[in-house]
């Protein structure tokens, strides 16, 4: 750890000591039992993975441990701290650091200031001249470098960061604060392999220093790469706690969702020879995309792989009218189009599923029904008047089709992260687009539902539509796509046939620093 140990040298727990004890934890929201009697211990110097389907209660448990929410019943004790943790301030004193699924970043602060946010905590007196100095220091850059944000300027506004960068930025606080428990709630959901290595390093350092790390993720390979034990939640109850070395991904999956996962079949190849491409992009510039050309044929699922910042989202946004292209042409079925706004793109049946759920994904004051119907509403109305019966019945169907844990009247913002993502996917696919760009579509979605989403994507393509999937998971693209493009520095640098490539090929191509 780099810094400033503030809370004295109070005896750090030894590896193997109990770090926290949760007894009979219940958390009930109106109409939902998010947690229903969980007993769990964590030990110092271990990585405890928490697995479970979407809405199983993982984030809820993490929030209770971090003191952000108060349990309906039961008690959490943190070692070295006398009282049960009751609120965020107490948890902070007890040394609990939480990384939220939706990272809490102050948009109007610079990157550097966000690193040192903890210095604004309660109890610290008003020290003149104390605030500005740190945020641009050598130390700040070092800290940022450790979480893979070395290329950022410290005085850049946090507002301009992408979701992946936001996650890593909030993670940088782990480097500057002193804590006994660190909670990573899907911190890896929108990060690429590159950042995962930074996280691995961080976790390793923390663990050696005796920190208890709680790791929540839907990526089982990461869980197995990192954890010592795996706690499995299902419907708010603790199903089992397993030693990682003594179990297999299949067993965990079975515990999580009640049955084993079927392997996802790679899609049958589509015939593209001699056909007219559905979408033809030529020399596209915009955002970080710098001269991108590619075709998508009807019936095709094309993957777009690359590191964070390689320009994938810029491509996705620009070809769907979310952002205006600086230059380049886009043809749809051979006809050149100008997509200057999402509305225009929608008129041409071209849509973009955002990777930034927090900002652009759903309307926070809308319930699931309203969010799902937002795009297609004009189709469900006559003369501008909404056909409510149609809306209601179709929303119900969508909810079951996409396995959303929540009803039509539930506020989308109160859903678990994965379920929010399902609502957003449903919203877009319901508009029956000809060409759809899915940016990190399975972000935060559990393995069970993931298979379901894959099938939905395939069924879209099967109707002679085009799909472009942007993902940071090489494995996902390999099993999902007909073709994979790899981007680097704003350009497409390679194309792979999934049946002839493996994860390493993709990662290597994405990382290589020369052509």
């Amino acid at each position: 750890m780099t810094t400033t140990v503030e809370r004295g040298q109070s005896a750090r727990p030894q590896v193997g000591d109990v770090a926290f004890t949760a007894r009979g934890i219940k958390k009930h929201y109106p109409g939902v039992k998010a947690l229903d009697g969980v007993d769990l211990e964590g030990y110092a110097g271990e990585v405890l993975a928490v697995c479970g389907a979407n809405g199983a209660g993982k984030s809820t448990f993490a929030k209770l441990l971090a003191g952000v929410e108060t349990p309906t019943d039961g008690e959490i004790r943190v070692a070295g701290y006398d009282h049960p943790v009751r609120n965020a301030a107490e948890a902070e004193q007890a040394g609990v650091l939480m990384m939220f699924q939706e990272p809490l970043i102050i948009d109007d602060f610079t990157v550097g200031e966000n690193v040192w946010l903890y210095k604004l905590r309660e109890g610290r007196d008003i020290r003149p001249w104390a605030t500005k100095v740190d945020s641009n220091s050598h130390q700040t850059r070092e800290v940022l470098g450790k979480v893979g944000l070395g290329a950022l300027r410290t005085n850049q506004l946090a507002r301009d960061l992408g979701p992946g960068q936001r996650q890593m930025l909030s993670l940088s606080r782990a480097e500057v604060t002193n804590h006994q428990i660190m909670i990573l709630d899907e911190t890896t959901a929108s990060t690429s392999e590159e950042h995962f290595n930074d996280i691995l390093d961080l976790v390793k350092r923390e663990r050696e220093a005796g920190t208890h790390i709680m790791f929540v993720s839907h990526r089982l390979n990461e869980v197995f790469a990192m954890s010592d034990r795996i706690a499995v939640l299902r419907n708010g109850q603790l199903v089992d706690v397993l030693k990682t070395s003594e179990t297999t991904p299949d067993e965990v999956t079975t515990l999580m969702i009640g049955q084993a996962l079927r392997a996802v079949e790679r899609p049958a190849p589509v015939q593209t020879e001699g056909k007219q491409p559905l979408v033809a992009v030529r020399d596209l510039h915009g955002g970080t995309a710098a001269g991108v050309s590619f075709d998508v044929y009807p019936g095709e699922v094309v993957g777009l792989y690359g590191l964070v910042g390689s320009g994938r989202s810029s491509v996705g946004r620009t070809v769907t009218g979310q952002k205006r292209a600086a230059s380049g042409t886009i043809q749809i079925r051979g006809e050149e189009v100008q997509l200057n706004s999402p509305g225009q793109a929608l008129d041409k049946s071209v849509v973009y599923l955002t990777e930034d759920r927090r900002l652009e994904g759903f309307v926070k004051d809308f319930d699931n029904g309203e969010n799902m119907s937002l795009v297609v509403l004009p189709k469900w109305s006559k003369g501008g008047v909404i056909d409510t019966t149609k809306e209601k019945s179709r929303v119900r169907e969508l909810i079951s089709e996409f396995q959303v844990k929540g009803g039509p009247k539930t506020y989308t913002r109160s859903l678990s992260g994965g379920n929010q993502q399902k609502v957003v996917i449903a919203k877009w696919l319901e508009s029956d687009p000809d060409f759809v760009v899915l940016d990190e579509p399975t972000k935060g979605i559990d393995v069970g539902a993931r298979a379901n989403i894959y099938e939905i994507i395939h069924s879209v393509a099967a109707r002679d539509k085009g799909v472009l999937v942007i993902s940071s998971e090489a494995e996902e693209l390999l099993s999902l796509c007909h073709r994979i493009l790899v981007m680097r520095n704003g350009k497409v640098v390679a194309e792979f046939d999934p049946s002839e490539a493996d994860t390493d090929d993709l990662i290597r191509t994405a990382l290589t620093h020369q052509d």
């Binding site: 793109a345 909404i386 909810i399 929540g406 539902a449 099938e455």
Partner: protein
């Protein structure tokens, strides 16, 4: 498509809804409690007069003009905007409707007033939606501009339309005991409720107010929708200006003065959020009634002019504080924030 049985059965899920609708609704209706409390006070102190036919008619008349303006303010606030020019715009609509061509007919006045209101709204809306300016500063400019035009139009002297007598007659006409002006208000309430709750446009207004980025990236025509909101608000204000003529039969230069504060207050006390995306027509109506009843009651109680403002202020503070006591206590208990 055939769901692939790996996940828990979806049919069990709708239970996970927000809490019972009735409780939820009651919780959010603290404006209603304030109103009930006020009516209780009115009944106890001046019951017979307050509930008398004359006073009820007066009350209805007193709230119908501001009521229409409040509706306009509501839709603007729903988008996350604010319109502080409503009072001046109402004055402008009233004065020009009274003075243009000499104000020969009530119907022509309606057309003129609504057009003037619509123009003011269109300018506000264009600057906000297409130029991306802060609504507060735009409508502040309009507040001064419109009021200035009112003064300039009549050199500060009231403008009496030729049809003053017809306006006066019209303004006090009742239909089955209910003043027409109040009926116009109620029709507008129904219209706005319909637009907001039952049309695509209404849904878009809420979406824009709640999360403008999500709205934009979902393909909603944000700018034109925003513009239409300000225009509609302007039309309502223009209508209010015409109703002003119906009620007072004269386009005074102070028409609508300081109305903006009361309109915003009614919207906010009715539960709408100033940052947008949340608020109900019902709440705005209750808010309108609250402020009308407060003013009426202070008059009926013959509270000294010197004390009226103090009473009004204290009443507002006590009411909003009391109304939230129980909820915030509950909130703290569960959330411990």
């Amino acid at each position: 498509m055939t769901a692939t049985a790996t996940a828990p059965a979806p049919s069990a899920q709708p239970e996970a809804q927000r809490s019972s609708p009735v409780v939820d609704w009651l919780k959010s209706q603290y404006a209603l409690y304030i109103l009930v409390a006020l009516l209780l006070v009115a009944t106890i102190t001046r019951g017979s007069i307050f509930w008398g036919g004359t006073n009820l008619t007066n009350l209805l008349l007193q709230m119908s003009i501001i009521g229409v303006v409040v509706l306009g303010e509501l839709i603007v606030v729903l988008t996350g905007g604010i319109d502080i020019s409503v009072g001046s715009a109402l004055g402008l609509a009233a004065v020009i409707a009274a003075g243009l061509f000499g104000g020969p007919s009530v119907f022509l006045g309606l057309v003129v007033a609504v057009i003037i209101g619509g123009i003011v709204g269109a300018v506000n809306g264009w600057l906000v939606a297409f130029r991306g300016l802060e609504p507060f500063i735009v409508t502040l400019g309009m507040l001064a501009l419109a009021r200035g035009l009112v003064y300039a139009y009549g050199n500060g002297i009231p403008i009496n339309p030729e049809a003053a007598a017809s306006y006066a007659t019209f303004g006090q006409t009742t239909i089955i005991g209910i003043p027409v002006l109040a009926i116009i208000w109620l029709v507008m309430v129904a219209l706005i409720a319909f637009l907001l709750y039952r049309t695509v446009w209404g849904r878009r207004v809420y979406a824009i107010g709640s999360n403008i980025d999500a709205a934009r990236s979902s393909g909603i025509p944000v700018r034109t929708t925003l513009w239409s909101v300000y225009i509609l608000a302007g039309l309502l204000v223009g209508l209010g200006g015409w109703m002003f003529l119906g009620r007072f039969a004269s386009g005074t230069s102070t028409a609508g003065n300081l109305l903006e504060l009361e309109a915003i207050a009614a919207v906010v006390i009715g539960g709408a959020r100033l940052s947008g995306g949340f608020g109900k027509v019902f709440g705005a109506v209750v808010g309108t009634i609250i402020f009308a009843v407060i003013a009426n009651l202070l008059s009926l109680l013959n509270v000294s002019t010197f004390l009226q403002d103090a009473f009004r202020g204290a009443l507002i503070l006590v009411a909003v504080t009391l109304a939230t006591v129980q909820f915030s206590r509950k909130r703290r208990a569960t959330a411990g924030k």
